[in-house]
């Protein structure tokens, strides 16, 4: 009985609620502004009345009879002594007041206009436009008429004083009308011809009897409206003043009651569901206690929820209001109390209204009322519904492990014994399940909980595990520990693209960190300087299958961002393959086997030759070729600059570096995914990483400060180059000061000078760099890294060895600091290079204090830029995602939103996925190579042909543990 079957929601409609409905659904009327009595029992008809639901365990709800946990709570109500305005509707109230007649309540539009706006509303809804624009236009139109088109009553302007006060503004006869008339009758002192107006003249002109005019002048008779108008016309003056008549909520309610149903439809209100007078509250719903539970503190004191505090205030004022009114208190006091009641109801609904001081807790903290519970990042929508904390998740620091496959993740044993996967026991896995249970919760492949078919969950303990294992039967559920080969989801924040969340296979390991292969660092943008990552264990078979097919790391090698691989060799891997293949070194049998020990290759091909000692050798390119598929053909230019040629799986010439195997578009990895399979590419990337690590360890690779030093004569040349630049700049400044410098088109003379100086200094740095570069040897580790694309650039190197160069802030030389100079060390208006942040020393040589200061200025700008950029782009991304989240590619190829409006007629104009398109630049789609391959297959023998046609899909999504040992099938491809 307590478990209800799930139901599908057909639709949701929003509207106003009839106060009568409040009363009907209310469990009790609340009249006492108190919670518990001295004995700790809830007060009847108080704010914690047991009919409003239960929060204390063991008690029974007086309305539904259920206990805490299963009783959702029930609304109560407070009868308000006087109607008050609901703050959430102040704009709608203003709109209704302005567009309807104060007398008859009808919309101040004629039938044609009404019809027009009704049609426009329907059209706006059809075209997905904002209906508010139409409603605003309707109100604007209605406001134009000064009298009601139905009853002829003149309309007053409505003034809205935020948040909840409304005034009717009318022009009425001014109090000092007689003085104003008399003054206007006086002759104009500046105009000698003007003799003024006698009362008789005025009477004639305004067509009022002289007697009346005299009475008016004496202030004994207040002119009626007609008389006033004619007097104003005769004298050319204004006799009125504005009169503000405050509209009490009860007045507004009476007004709204008169608005006919057909008129509110034009204003966008559904008359079947809502009536405008329901906006004005006459009865206030009291949220159930389950929505505002009180907390018992350690010392036994009860601490009430903010909403309860607010309700106490409301009831107190409500009570006082009623007492005062019954006692016949003066109108002034009643109005004050009314305003106070309005304030409390307002802050109960929203405590962040501008112009209203927020209601505060005793401690001075603003109360968190209804609106605050829903709004913002931590509110109900963004904080509790769209995103919430989850079970079956773990988070810890990450560290690298090159022995893992890129598909794997090392999970600490203490995580694996805590995180569980639910398995449904059947007759086929019952023995396995019993084994998990009998291992208990502390031995690794054990289990933590079992669930009986009747829904009861039992904790597996060291004591009961043996006994429990015998009881496990088909139909039970066992929460077993994570074991090797389980599929889990792994994530690093910020999750900026889909490769930030990928599925990995578990490898349970000792110690406390998650371990991952270094080649998956680029997609996660992870490093190991303290980064933490999250892991989620999947709980249903469908989820696990889906994750394995769609989300596994090997399925994400290609990035949809640029259609090339994002997973590949990085950093030392690239240095390693460079050392292995550049200038093609030779290896003895033991060395060659050592290089290949972590790969599936266990036999060497025929040696490439014999050295002078007569022992066979293998070249680096041969060893590298062992990892390639036997039929791979490729030709491209490497980042080192030579041409790489691969024929029939043999690397014939060229250096393997970033452009061949690197993340972000390594040609070989990219080709393997596209022409072979994700699986083949995964094997290749794994093996290249191991081979490269072995290779770099074979050669030894280190870098120290002496690797960036250049001989003294080179230093001399660098100084010479800089001296030359200084001289040229001196000349430029001289011509400028003589006024002889010619400005470049579209620039001032000052700008021209700046540009020319910058240019000269740039050249000086470059030539210093060239000089330094000339003195580095090919085997310099920093050069190796820069050439191969592993890390760093030649620019970094020249800055270390030659000259750091010009420091810039906002793309200009440094110009800030003191008046007309950058530092107190320089004369004002010094235009020289060193006074504006040119650093002539190298990092290795060391900067002077002034250079250091300028360098810090430039460096600071970089830091500020990144900080600003991340926060800006984060917000932009959020908005973009919110705008695009409901778009979906449909089966007919179109992209539509949830209301079926078409956004694109063909996904991306061409209906193709970026990761399925050839990345070769010569052909948009690599038709030639496809035809080649197809034709080649066609020309083979009949047996080959049938093999081709009966070919089975490569088993891309099997676990690595499910694959045959030794990778025979991959070999058979070759």
């Amino acid at each position: 009985m307590s478990i209800q079957s799930p139901k599908e929601i057909g639709g949701i409609s929003f509207g106003l609620m009839d106060p009568e409905t409040y009363r009907d659904m209310s469990a009790t009327k609340v009249i006492t502004a108190d919670t518990y009595d001295d004995d700790g029992y809830p007060i009847d008809m108080g704010l914690m009345d047991p009919r409003l639901g239960v929060i204390d365990p063991g008690l029974e709800c007086r309305t539904c009879g259920r206990h805490s946990g299963s009783c959702n709570g029930h609304f109560g109500h407070i009868e308000l002594a006087a109607p008050v305005i609901h703050v959430g509707f102040t704009k709608l109230i203003r709109r209704l007041l302005r567009s309807t007649c104060r007398q008859c309540g009808r919309l101040a539009l004629n039938d044609e206009q009404k019809e027009e706006f009704r049609d426009r509303l329907v059209r706006a809804k059809e075209l997905n436009e904002d209906p508010n624009d139409v409603l605003k236009a309707a109100v604007r139109q209605a406001r134009k008429s000064s009298t009601c088109p139905h009853c002829g009553e003149p309309q007053a302007d409505i003034k809205h004083e935020k948040p909840t006060t409304y005034y009717e503004v009318q022009n009425v006869l001014s109090g000092d009308y007689s003085e104003r008339i008399a003054e206007a009758m006086q002759p104009d002192p500046d105009d000698e011809d003007d003799v003024g107006l006698s009362p008789q003249d005025l009477a004639d002109k305004a067509e009022i009897s002289l007697e009346r005019v005299n009475q008016m002048l004496a202030g004994e008779f207040r002119p009626r409206k007609d008389d006033r108008r004619s007097l104003e016309k005769a004298l050319g003056i204004d006799l009125t003043e504005e009169d503000m008549n405050k509209l009490m909520p009860s007045d507004i309610r009476d007004w709204f009651e008169d608005i006919p149903d057909e008129d509110i439809e034009v204003l966008g209100i559904n008359s079947e569901k809502s009536r405008p007078e329901w906006i004005i509250l006459t009865v206030l719903p009291v949220p159930p206690v389950t929505a505002r539970p009180s907390i018992t503190l350690d010392n036994g004191q009860r601490s009430e929820d903010d909403l309860t505090h607010k309700l106490v205030d409301i009831i107190r004022i409500n009570q006082r209001f009623m007492e005062n009114r019954e006692a016949g208190a003066p109108q002034l006091i009643i109005e004050d109390l009314w305003e106070l009641l309005q304030y409390h109801v307002t802050t109960f609904i929203d405590n962040e209204i501008s112009g209203t001081p927020p209601a505060r807790h005793r401690s001075g903290r603003p109360l968190k009322t209804l609106s605050q519970r829903l709004k913002g990042k931590e509110g109900r929508f963004r904080g509790s519904l769209s995103g919430k904390r989850v079970n079956f998740s773990a988070r810890t620091v990450i560290s690298p492990d090159p022995t893992l496959s890129l598909n794997e993740v090392g999970v600490p044993d203490r995580v694996a014994t805590e995180m569980t996967i639910t398995i449904n026991v059947t007759e086929r896995n019952i023995e396995e399940a019993q084994q998990y249970v009998s291992n208990g919760p502390e031995n690794h492949p054990g289990s933590n909980y079992v669930k009986r078919p009747d829904g009861r969950r039992l904790k597996v303990t060291e004591k009961n595990c043996e006994e429990l294992a015998t009881k496990v039967e088909a139909g039970w559920e066992v929460n077993r520990h994570l074991v090797d080969g389980d599929i889990v989801i792994f994530n690093r924040q910020p999750s900026l693209h889909r490769m930030s969340i990928m599925a990995h296979e578990v490898v349970v390991m000792p110690y406390k960190t998650f371990r991952l292969n270094t080649v998956v660092c680029p997609p996660y943008n992870a490093d190991f300087d303290g980064d933490e990552m999250n892991l989620h264990a999947l709980q249903t078979e469908e989820a696990r299958a889906e994750a394995r097919v769609l989300m596994r790391v090997q399925e994400q090698i290609l990035s949809p961002r640029f259609g090339e691989n994002i997973i590949g060799a990085i950093q030392d891997h690239i240095s390693g393959t460079y050392l292995l293949t550049h200038e093609n070194p030779q290896f003895s049998e033991t060395q060659a086997l050592d290089l290949l020990r972590a790969t599936r290759v266990d036999a060497l091909p025929d040696p490439d030759g014999e050295d002078e000692m007569g022992s066979p050798y293998w070249t680096g390119q041969t060893i590298f070729s062992l990892l390639l598929p036997g039929d791979l053909n490729l030709e491209f230019t490497s980042s080192t600059g030579d041409t790489v040629i691969v024929e029939n799986g043999q690397l014939l010439e060229g250096t393997i570096d970033e452009d061949a195997v690197g993340a972000f578009g390594g040609e070989i990895v990219d080709t393997l995914v596209k022409q072979y399979s994700e699986r083949r590419a995964r094997i290749f990337v794994n093996e290249i990483a191991s081979l490269a690590m072995r290779a770099i360890m074979h050669f030894g690779f280190s870098i120290g400060i002496d690797d960036e030093s250049i001989p003294p004569e080179a230093d001399e040349q660098v100084d010479e180059a800089i001296r030359n630049a200084y001289e040229r700049i001196g000349g430029l400044i001289q011509t400028y000061e003589n006024g002889e410098l010619e400005s470049l088109p579209g620039r001032t003379v000052d700008e021209t000078l700046e540009m020319k100086i910058m240019q000269t200094l740039g050249k000086a740095r470059d030539s210093a760099g060239e000089i330094a570069e000339d003195h580095f040897t090919e085997d310099n580790p920093a050069v190796v890294m820069a050439r191969s694309g592993a890390r760093g650039s030649m620019l970094n190197l020249t800055q270390m060895a030659g000259c750091v160069g010009q420091q810039a802030v906002r793309g200009e030389r440094i110009n800030r600091g003191y008046e007309d100079r950058t530092l107190a060390h320089y004369k004002p208006h010094d235009l020289s290079a060193e006074a504006h942040g040119f650093v002539e020393n190298s990092y290795r040589g060391g900067l002077t204090p002034r250079e250091f200061f300028f360098h810090a200025m430039g460096g600071r700008e970089g830091l500020v830029d990144t900080a600003v950029r991340t926060s800006k782009s984060g917000y932009l991304q959020r908005r973009l995602i919110n705008a695009l989240s409901e778009l979906e590619a449909q089966y007919d190829g179109t992209v539509r939103d949830t209301s079926d409006t078409i956004v694109q007629f063909e996904y991306g104009e061409d209906g193709t996925s970026p990761v399925r398109v050839s990345s070769s630049e010569d052909f948009d789609i690599d038709v030639d190579s496809i035809v080649d391959r197809v034709v080649e297959a066609e020309f083979e023998s009949a047996a080959e042909k049938s093999a081709f046609l009966d070919r089975q899909e490569p088993p891309t999504n099997l676990s690595e543990y499910g694959e045959p040992r030794g990778y025979e099938e991959v070999e058979s491809d070759d």
Binding site: E126, D892, T894, T901, Q904, E909, D910, G911
Partner: protein, 76 residues
């Protein structure tokens, strides 16, 4: 005045003045007229005779598919 519709970057905008053509498009995508993307009547790329409620066929050059055809509903 510059006639932008003659500019090389402005794709061809063709008014579907035959109701059956419009019907065909709506049939193909199984949509109502209002589910189409919109274009304002005041858009300078539109042919002069286009009126609100008309459907426009736009033929764009595409790098990948040569020609990409889209339809838009004229509004206001």
């Amino acid at each position: 005045m510059v006639d932008v519709s003659q500019h090389e970057l402005v794709p061809e905008h063709i008014l579907l003045d035959d109701d059956s053509e419009v019907e065909e498009v709506l049939e193909e995508y199984n949509i109502k007229k209002t589910d189409l993307p919109k274009i304002k009547r005041t858009d300078p790329a539109l042919p002069d005779e286009a009126a609100p409620g008309d459907v426009i066929k736009i033929i764009r050059d595409s790098r990948t598919t040569d020609k990409a055809i889209v339809y838009r509903l004229v509004i206001q």
